[in-house]
Symmetry: C3
Subunit: 157 residues, 3 copies
Amino acid sequence: MSADTRFQQATAYLGYTFDGDLKVGGDYVPLLRDGDVIYISGQIPRVENTVVVTGRVGAEVSLGQAQLAAKVCAMRALALLQRELGSLDKLRRVLRISVYIQSAADFTQQSEVSDGASALLHEVLGEAGRHTRTSVGVYHLPKNASVELDMVVSVAG
Amino acid sequence: MSADTRFQQATAYLGYTFDGDLKVGGDYVPLLRDGDVIYISGQIPRVENTVVVTGRVGAEVSLGQAQLAAKVCAMRALALLQRELGSLDKLRRVLRISVYIQSAADFTQQSEVSDGASALLHEVLGEAGRHTRTSVGVYHLPKNASVELDMVVSVAG
Amino acid sequence: MSADTRFQQATAYLGYTFDGDLKVGGDYVPLLRDGDVIYISGQIPRVENTVVVTGRVGAEVSLGQAQLAAKVCAMRALALLQRELGSLDKLRRVLRISVYIQSAADFTQQSEVSDGASALLHEVLGEAGRHTRTSVGVYHLPKNASVELDMVVSVAG
């Protein structure tokens, strides 16, 4: 089964669509290729015009909701890559993801939130989706998003 | 018009000079080249010996002041690149900027702060200045700086 | 003297061992090589099963303890690189470190915390250990760790 089929299945499972405009919030680009490396801008869990998970994780947002938010961020990154490359099968490796979690004062399960994104990337991309990762709990994210995720990937030369 | 001329114009417009020592705050280097890629250390809005914008954005620091801080960080990065390369015209592309904003508890306009830096890079460097970006609101920055920005760029091989 | 010998000396000096399992906290990899570049996942100051420095720096954690935490994070990264490469002498350059410090509300010495890691890298690796750096004070880190550090390095082709 191709990564694109698995991406489609993940879309159906999550119940969100990533076919529309994947807009950025300012004067920058969503994705940029330099040789065999592609940089992807920080993604928040926006679906069309709505940020679907907002608020502090550990307070008004549960661990499960935050994991969903991390998955939506990762799906947006994959949708951007699919448009750029034509197929996700051209992706060689996800090199790095950085996951920022808007955290409540006493919340320490940032790694568990990021696991939502990591599991999804592994599932959709197979071995190519296994990455290095940094997870940090931050004070505030744009648009009051609960999670933000950026990515660096390599593609076949 | 060359990027260096536009850099000079931006310097005049901001009313700050970046001719002096662009010091780092510890045992590390401001900039490092690896092949065609240059990494730039996190820049705070320091001009000579003074951090010109300090405090929490959304509380004692306005959006406009924070955008100015982001511009000063970006100008420092450009000044470092100009010294390294001789001319900013040798820069091929700004690949990534990460912008950290020392935020008040209810401040969610981190993207708008980063737009200060993004617009400046686009203006000075043209298409080469259009980049991927991650903006996060953090709890504290070194020296109580309102904004910190780091960068990865590519240069002609 | 080889970098590996200096690494061994630093281990003895710190009084911790990095011979055991250097586990990651989720479905990701600790380290990943792409051509001549190696990405290392965010390291917290874990020694075997214990995070040895936890809490907010500037409140229950002193600057000195936080610098120790930063050193332990850097040693974990070096231990991972040594296992991957066989010898730390194969490392060409530490390109970037990002240091996240779980900070108290009024703590602004993030750079001084990171200096713990920077000095250690310089000491163990010599010139190859001089890097670019970004230090930010964050609201929360996984497992209540006081410091987290990630790294990008280059190796001989």
